[in-house]
Every structure is written in C-alpha cells, then in structure tokens.
Symmetry: C2
Subunit: 656 residues, 2 copies
C-alpha cells in the first residue's frame, strides 16, 4: 500500500483495516485487481496479525471470490455471512475490490451476526472525476483551475511528478467507488494539448498508477488539435483529413494505453474552439470523436456547458439559463452510443442553489452524464465547511416529470464531478472537504444513500478515535450536516445566484457580475429583485421543463421559495410560503447564517481532544476565516438590500 | 541626435528645427549642455543648410551665450531680437538648452519682428517625472505599474535595455522643461531594491544618457533596505547603525553618479515598509534619508500618500480623504530643507475630479512637491483622449486661502508627475496622450500657461502639416480641449470618484469599491448619494481647509456643483446651481458625454489626410474603444442610479 509521509490518509488510515487484518482471509482470482485485493489484505494482516490464503480448502473468516454468474455485473458483488464466514462473491475483478472496501467500511460488524445475501452493484456505470489540472502554472489561477488544494497531484510545474501519491489517490477513489478520472483541465491550453500526442507518456504513467484500483484514465482534448498539433488547415469534424487525423491519433493513444477511457471536450464554450467555426453542430463534433474512439471501446464526454459569454447585459431577451437546452435538446437522438452529453446539474454554473437542468429531461435518446462540482468554486472554496452531499442528493432524487416519474439518477447513465484534490497534505485543502469527495463517489454508486449516513461512514473510517467516538461523531454532524444550507443562508438569497467577486468568485460583490457579459444578473432595483424566467412575461425558460415543473416554476405562488428569485422578479414585500417577506427573509437568513457559522467554530473547539492537533488547528483557522467571511456576506448583502429597499429589519438588528 | 527607427519623434520631428537649421548660429559655452546645444544646431544645419559657429566675431542670425550675471538663475534665459539677430543669454548651461528649445517652439517667428528682452525662468525649481517602472514583469500589472504604453524604456524583463531610446527621451523632456526623473516604481520590490546597491550601475547608465539634457536621476528606495539589502536587524531611522548604513550607501551612490538627484520614498502606505514599525514618524524617516543625502546636495521626496488601506467599509468615521493631512500637517516644520513632502493633487487618488489636497495649505514650513498623474490610471488609460492640462491648470491656479491668497503653484516648490511613457512606438500608447506629457513639463515651468495655447504649441511641433495647418489644428482643439470634461461627464458624477472596476481601474463598476477596505465609497441608496465630509454631520474633512474653502465646502448650497458628492450626501432631488436635480444631472451628463465621445470620433475622420496614415488609424481604433467605453459608462451609471432612485429621465431617453 502506498504510505506517504506528510500526507493525510483520508478515509483509509491503517486502522480502517483492523477488522480484516486480524482474520483469516481467502482471496481467489488472478487479475490485477485480485492482486490488489490480496495486497490490501496482506498489508492489513502484517499489521494486525491475520493471515491471507489462496487455498480453497480450509475455514476462513472472510472469503473473496469471483463468479461471473453472480448476476451483479462486472463491478457488483454479493455480500453474505453465515457459519462464521463472511463471503464476497464478485461478478468481476472490480467487484472483488469494491466488495473488499465494503467489508472495510463495515469493520467489525461485517464479522458479527449472520447476513442474508445482499447484492451490490453501482447504479451508474461510470463514476468519474474531472481534474481541471494544468501542467503549467497560471499566474492568477494557479496550476489547478478552480483548485483550492494546492498544485496538481499529476504534474509539478512544467512536467510529470513522482506518481507515488497518484497510486494512493486511486486507492482512495476505489474505496468510494470511483472508476474513471479525466486528468486535465477542460480548458486545454497549448502545453496540455500535447498530452494527446508527444506527451502521451505522461498520461500513460498516470494510467499505470490508477489501473490497479480499477480506474480508467480519460483526457481532455482541444477540438482544434488537428490544426494546433496536426498541422492541418481545418478541424472541421466532417472533413476526411480531420477524421483520419483523429483516427490515427486515437489509435496511437490506445496502442500506448489499452484501457484508455476516452476524451472529454469543452467545445464552443467560453472561448474554446469547436464545430461552430465550420458551420457544424455539437452532434457533428461529438460523433466525429466518438467514431475515432469506438473501435477501442472508448467514449467521448461532450460538455453541454455552452452559452454566450459575451452577452450584452442590456439585452433582457438572452437568458444564459436557456442556453444548454437550446443548443442540445434539438440534437437528441443524433449522438452516437459512445458520445455522452455531460450536463451540469443546474442551468447556470454550480451555484449553491439552482433548479435541476432541464436538459436532463430533454434528451431521452442520448446518453447523459450529470456533472457536479466537488471543488467548491462557488461554495466556499474549501475555506468554508460546506458538506455538499445533501445538495447532490436533492439533485439525484429530483423527479423531472413529477412525483410518479423517474429521478435524475434514473435518467443519467453516468455521474461526473470536478475534483477538489490537489497536492495539499489533506488532499482537499480543508480537511473536512474530504467528505465531499467521499460522498460523491458513494452517491454515484448508490444515489439513494442518505447524506447523514454517508457522513457517518466517512467519520468512522477517517477518524479512528481514542476517546468517546460518539462525541466526535455528534460534533461533526452538528457542524457538517446542515453546512450547505448554512452557506446558502449567508450568501446569495433565494436561488438568485452569483453576487460573488468577479474572477476568483470568493466573497460577496452583489453587483460584481450585474453589468458584465457573463449572463448572470439579479436585476435588483429599489422595488424588487430576481430574474423573470416565466413564459408569461420573462425569458420563457420555465417552458423548458416538462409538467408539472413548467407550471410550478411559472407561478410565483407555487414556485419553491428557495428558487423564487431564480424564476421570478418580485417586490421586496412579496410574501413567502412561511409568511415572511422577501426582504425580511434576506435579513433573517443572513443574520442566522453568520450566527451558524460562528456556532460551527464553537462546536469544533469541543473536538480538540478527538482529532490530531495539527488537523484540529488547521480546521480552526479555516473556521475563523469562514466566520469572518460569513459576517462579510451578511453585512454586504443586508446593506445592499437595505440601501435599495429602504425596508427596516423587523427585529431592529444592525444593518450598516 | 538620437533618431530611432520605428519610434515616433513626438514633439521633436526634424521639421521642428527647420527655422534654426537654415540659419547662421553662434553657440558659446563649454559645458556638456552647451555641447548638446551645439550638436542640436549642427544636426539641424546638416538638414537645412545653415551653419554653426563658435567665433564671437561675425554676424549671426542666432546667438546662444552664457552670462551668469543675467539674473535669471542657472536654468533661465533672456530672449531678444534686434538688428536681425535673435539672442539667447542664459544664466547657466541649462538655460542655454531651454533657450534653444524656446527658439525651436517659436520657429520662424523667432526670426521675424524685433523682440524686446524677455526673461524666462522656471516657476518651479524641480520639474520631475516619476516612473513606476519595474525591472521584472508582473503577471497582472505588467512591467510598468499603471503603465498603458507597453514595457519600460529603461529595462527589458530582468535586465537593462539598450538605452538609445532613453537619450531620445531625455531630449523630449528637456524640450518641455523637465529636469528630473525617478526611474523606478515607488512600490519597490525585491529586484528593484537592489538598484540602490549591486545594480546601481543600471541607474548610472540611465543617468549618463539623461545628463546631456540637463536631467538628474532619482531612485525610489525601499525603506527597509538596511534589513533587506544590508542584513541589519532593523530599519529604525533613529538607529545609529541604520543611519550609518544609509550614509555609506549614499556615499557609494554619489561616487558612481556624482549628479544623482536623490531618493523617492513611499513609506507606511499600501503595505510598503516605513518608520511606523519602529514607533517613529514620517519626519524621522524622511530626515534620516535627508541627512544621508545632504552632504552631496541630494534630496528625498517623501510621499504623503498615506492612509489605511485596510479600512472596514462599515466604519463611517474613518475617511481616507483626511489621512494625508492627519498624518503630515502636525509634522510641519520638522522636515529638513532637503526633505520634500510630495503631495498628490487631491486628497484621494488622481480621480477625474477632486478638490485640491488640504495638505498643500497646511505645511507652510515644509518644502512641498505637488504630484500629478500623467499616466491615465483613472482617466481612460491612454485608450481615451483625455487632455489633462485644463485640470492641472485648475489645480495649480487654485487659491487655498481665497481669491486674494497665493495659488498652489506659488506654494509648491516642485511639481512631480507619474510618467505615461513606455516602449510603445508612440511613447504614450495613445498618440494624442503625448500632449499630456508635453503640457505637464510646460506647466511645471510656467504654471500660468493656458492649456489651449499649450495644445497649440504641441500641435505645431508634433504635426508638420503638408496641407492646411489650420484644419488639423481646429480638429485637434475640438477633440482635445474639452476632453477632460467629456471624460468627467460620462464617468463618476459630481466629484464622487471611483466607480471603476477594482484592480485594473478601467471601465465602470459602480459598487466595485463600495464594500472593500480601500476607503473609496459613494454610499448611494434609494434616496441619495455622496459622502458627507462636513464638520456638522460628517467626517469633518472640510475643516482641514482654511477659510473660505472650509465654509464653502461645508455648505451644500455654496459647494461647487462639480464637487458636491465629494463633500455631501444629498437626495437625488437636490437642486444644483443650474436648476437641475442631481439625478437629472447624472442622466444629462452621461448622455451628453457619450455623445461627445462619438463626436470626437467623427471629427477625427476629417483629419485623415493631415497626419500619417498609421497614426490616424491607431487613433481611430482607440476612439472606437473610447466610444464603446463611454457608452458602457453611460448605461451602467444611468441604469444603476435609475434602479436606485426610480426617477424617470425628464427627456424620456433609454435607460436599461
């Protein structure tokens, strides 16, 4: 097992393997993944005195074996316990690995009472992390775009790193169910474009480290590569020379990395090149790459994050929220089977509160990946505690066709997230942000899991407590369970979004994007606030949803309060479902949110004896910043809306 | 004469020397500056067929001679013409040079009718440019902080440049009367700090190029140099070791550059180190450096731009406008004779409209330099035409003690400006921005000059027109004379200041600085706008002025309209002296300003045949940007205040 000095073990400290390590274990299988399982068990036994066997005859506490007839697919497994033996029967080598980590999660309880056979298989076949890592270091963005955990774990500036840590990373990801990683930024700059060709060896080296943990490597590519790298005059997806270039190039990729996953593409978006330049559409572009990948079983992830980022703020008819649907819904049915349209969970851009993207319900004949943002670009940048699993759970459980219809998790074939990992000693900047990465993988495996239960799992694995385990568990739940809603309270209200400092996106600036070309406006004036996206009087965005939501969102009376300002421009005196006015709600939530941030800090003090002192100190420092920032949000938002509305706070609190 | 290929000759094209070059000229004097004069004349004669002589006996069209008894000081000269001879009698070698350039300015008229003796001498003894150049290139700021004309003319990235261009620069500066240049940024970073010690040779090389044009070189130094460069434990100005270090270091500077001008210091300001760290004040700091410089005749320029840049926006009692006076006025009388307190023209920071800094009237026993900003940080960044001489004329002619008192130009002993020059082919980015540099030098020599006359001088020198000279002259006056007021119209209204995008300061962002620590607020709410700086109800800043201004500014009725929002928070319905309300004034000026910018562009089209085509095209491109930007300002400002006030435009124009 890779053990890294100076790097926190996250949810796989040695103690997590105590229950397995002290037992007699049989592992059967001769695949690289079975070898990994054996190595894990052997390592645990070396520490805790158990034994590893490969002989079918004998009595074992734990048996891990393959059976392709198990009926749970290549990644699934059946877990059972009777007659004093715990058994994992896996449908394929990956299932063996996931079964092992299921036993690790259960710890001693896996070796307790009898357990009738439980079938486990992932709900989503691809559970993927997109790294926005660059090779070069950008003077403002740093090396990882929207990265808040230091530099890349794949590259030092300019070249490949020692990859020991990448092996450990793969192990952590496998333990929460992730099976694919795109290694580089979707904004593919000149240096990184070459990972497809003369720097492909760097990708292969990463793939070698991740393969033992069942993780396939994907690559973000620049759509203009045939021009930039191939010296062709065009990147037109219907041009034969271009198609041949991609075919040849892809063939070379697979010759080097036989289990390569495929390409990720951000095209015709925020300045990236794409098929529009040649009068082609997104299906033309995606299918061209899909065709190049098909012979090798690869896929292309084609992002639906396409909008006009040079909008005129004066133009009220253009609505960024509409853009992905307007571009992609008409193309439904035209994408190849191995062309996956990757849709952000909301129509704008990873805000703390957005409706679910209408694209998800609009492309029944297209394979869809739903993209979440684990990196906390708009949710506190890993300086704030903001446990995001409750938000993701809501997204995955949302039923676009109403209470009797399917959920987002049913519709999506894949779940993808932007990674929050860097070369930080705690992996994720904020130590507690590890929980987001863990929970993302687990939800991608089983979208119905309860976020509080997932937090429980993560706590149990991550913090082998010497003292009272109940106390730390309680404190962490108190701090983290509601932290997303707390963050929502002290930032942009009622789904209106943004109000962040332009560029870096940290901290408040209510008008920061109001008069910019980015399409993210709130239209606050002295009378009211919010974006009219109705069909009746606004941009018509509500019409992109199927019933009942197209009607629910259309009506200010029926629209859920938390999305009111996303869909409607209302007077400050508009009364919410709880009887509060919008302006009073703004004041109330902002005072409450800032108070709750302060309460988090107080609670954390009580955990001082239960976690390593360095970790405690680091979280305390970050909580200090969160409290400061929450107060800043509170005061700027309240002052801004007080100056606009003139409405006094019903409770006479201090507004500046 | 340095003639540079690919670099515009600015106000010294060869044609400017036509009148001299065709005549018989006698130059007497044996100084390096007399040699320069001779070289200039010889060069002109080579082109236009005249002759240069050094023999007193003979008949000459032009005589340039020294007479230390002339009574006009070392830089002055007496110009006269009779009996067909034009004579310059200079009080010293520099006067010879300035006399030559006076004859150049007059051209043929210097050789026309008789002229009774005219004494010329500079009103201000030091006329200085501060370069904010760095050796290294900052990823965001570039090489020149607030530079809008490319990189430094002194350094390529990391090291010294070929300095041929610096010689040409010195020549241009001498021709408008400038006699001192500080070569590096007042924010002295690590690399540039070493210009004082092991990189001093780079400063000496620049001094060698500027010396023939009567320009002394000054250096911005880091107050913490004894620690950073000298390895001392302290930079305490009262510490003997520190004083000895500065004495030794300064001695070495003068051993290398005997006519070195002195140091420029930004201390305890915006994060720069200073005497506060040691419990000392600005006089202690400045005097320590003055003592080190005194034996060699050097001076220290100590900037009064000191304020709390980490202010809490919630704190209404702190007023950045007060800061310089609060820090410096109590120290009056404590500065050495060679310690010059350098005060920005306004109390905030080079806004398009500010009152004159009250510091200027508050330190009768201190030598003061008034600092202007030729680089257009807040006035269009050399993308907009904004001829600043009318503003500077107002500042220099302002009478702090009322109509019968002295002017700012009377009180100041020096005039300093932040340079607008870079390695751009036109020197100043915008070709028409050359006029600002020219006018600054001329106003520092003679603060009473009329800005329109100065523009005339500049046009006559810069554009030797083939066609109708009157037409180009008229067009440029139409575009430039009122361009400062046009810029004022379409940007922040009525002296309120800022409302620019944070960081780069280009373009509008009304609330951009409203909730930041920088102390630049407008306090606009639904009822009114402006900063209450009165003694009666505000920050008390008005009390820093002597009468009558302390009373004029205190009263909303008496306060000049253009400064109303600088001094008062007033309702949108407040009626200005012309009978317009504040809100209607905002609308009217912004519609008018944007229209006037468009009219500038139209006028420029008519000059197409009168200036070189590349210059015409460059200005046209920049005017396109100015028109676009002015429209953006118009719409953002109008929309912002319409949303806040709800007041309809009296003329029903489009507000978004």
């Amino acid at each position: 097992m890779p053990e890294l000095s100076g790097v926190h073990p996250a949810w796989l400290p040695p103690e997590a393997f105590r229950a397995i390590g002290s037992r007699r274990t049989l592992v059967l299988g001769d695949d690289v993944l079975a070898d990994t399982v054996r190595a894990e068990v052997a390592h645990a036994c070396a520490r805790y005195g158990g034994t590893l066997h490969d002989d079918r005859d004998g009595a074992y506490d734990l048996v891990l074996a393959l059976d392709s007839e198990a009926g749970v697919g290549p990644e699934g497994f059946v877990l059972s316990r009777h007659d004093g033996a715990t058994t994992v029967v896996a449908g394929g080598p990956a299932g063996l690995l996931y079964g092992l980590f299921e036993v690790v999660r259960r710890g001693e309880t896996a070796f307790g009472a009898d357990l009738p056979a439980e079938a486990h298989r992932p709900a989503l076949r691809r559970r993927m992390l997109d790294h926005w890592d660059n090779i070069d270091v950008h003077p403002v963005m740093g090396q990882v775009e929207r990265g808040y955990a230091g530099g890349s774990i794949f590259w030092r500036e300019g070249g490949p790193r020692d990859l020991t840590r990448v092996r450990a990373y793969g192990r952590l990801l496998a333990a929460c169910g992730i099976n694919a990683v795109a290694v580089n930024n979707v904004n593919v700059h000149a240096t990184e474009a070459r990972l497809l060709t003369d720097r492909l060896g760097e990708v292969a080296a990463i793939a070698d480290e991740l393969r033992p943990y069942g993780i396939r490597v994907h690559l973000s590519v620049n759509f203009a590569s045939p021009v930039a790298l191939g010296g062709l005059a065009t990147a037109d997806p219907l041009d034969d020379g271009v198609r041949a270039w991609w075919a040849r190039t892809t063939e070379r990729v697979y010759a080097t990395i036989p289990d390569f996953g495929g390409y990720v593409v951000k095209a015709d978006s925020e300045g990236q090149p794409g098929p529009f330049a040649y009068g082609r559409d997104h299906a033309d572009g995606a299918n061209m790459l899909a065709d190049a990948l098909a012979p090798f079983g690869g896929v292309v992830h084609w992002r639906a994050f396409v909008y006009d980022h040079r909008q005129d703020w004066r133009d009220r008819s253009t609505d960024r929220a509409r853009a992905a649907y307007d571009h992609f819904a008409p193309l439904d049915g035209r994408f190849r089977d191995n062309a996956i349209v990757q849709v952000k969970n909301g129509p704008i851009d990873f805000q703390v509160r957005e409706p679910v993207s209408p694209v998800i319900a609009a492309m029944p004949d297209t394979r869809l990946a739903v993209e979440l943002q684990v990196t906390q670009e708009y949710t506190g940048q890993q300086k704030h505690v903001c446990y995001l699993a409750p938000m993701w759970r809501e997204v995955l459980g949302f039923r676009p066709w109403g209470p009797d219809g399917r959920t987002v998790a049913d519709v999506a074939t894949e779940l993808v997230a932007v990674s929050n990992v860097g070369d930080d000693p705690y992996w994720t900047g904020h130590p507690l942000a590890q929980a987001n990465l863990y929970a993302f993988g687990r939800l991608a495996w089983a979208p119905g899991l309860d976020p509080a239960d997932l937090l429980d799992e993560w706590i149990g694995l991550t913090f082998p407590v010497a003292g009272d385990p109940g106390r730390l568990r309680r404190i962490l739940h108190e701090i983290m369970d509601g932290s997303w809603r707390t963050y929502e309270r002290y930032t942009a209200p009622l789904g209106v979004g943004f109000m962040v400092r332009p560029g870096h996106h940290y901290g408040p600036d209510v008008d920061g994007y109001e008069y910019t070309p980015w399409g993210t406006y709130h239209f606050a004036d002295r009378d009211g606030v919010g974006v009219d996206r109705t069909r009746a009087t606004g941009t018509g965005f509500t019409g992109q949803y199927p019933k009942p939501w197209s009607d629910v969102y259309e009506s200010p009376a029926k629209c859920p309060d938390e999305l009111l300002l996303f869909f409607h421009h209302v007077p400050y005196g508009h009364v919410l479902h709880d009887g509060t006015t919008v302006i009073q709600h703004i004041y109330d939530t902002h005072f409450a949110g800032a108070e709750q941030a302060a309460a988090m800090r107080d609670r954390w003090e009580k955990a001082a004896g239960d976690v390593p002192p360095e970790l405690h100190a680091r979280v305390r420092e970050l909580l200090d910043e969160q409290v400061r920032s929450a107060r800043e949000w509170r005061d700027q938002i309240n002052t801004y809306f007080f100056r606009k509305s003139g409405a006094a706070d019903a409770h006479g609190r201090r507004i500046y």
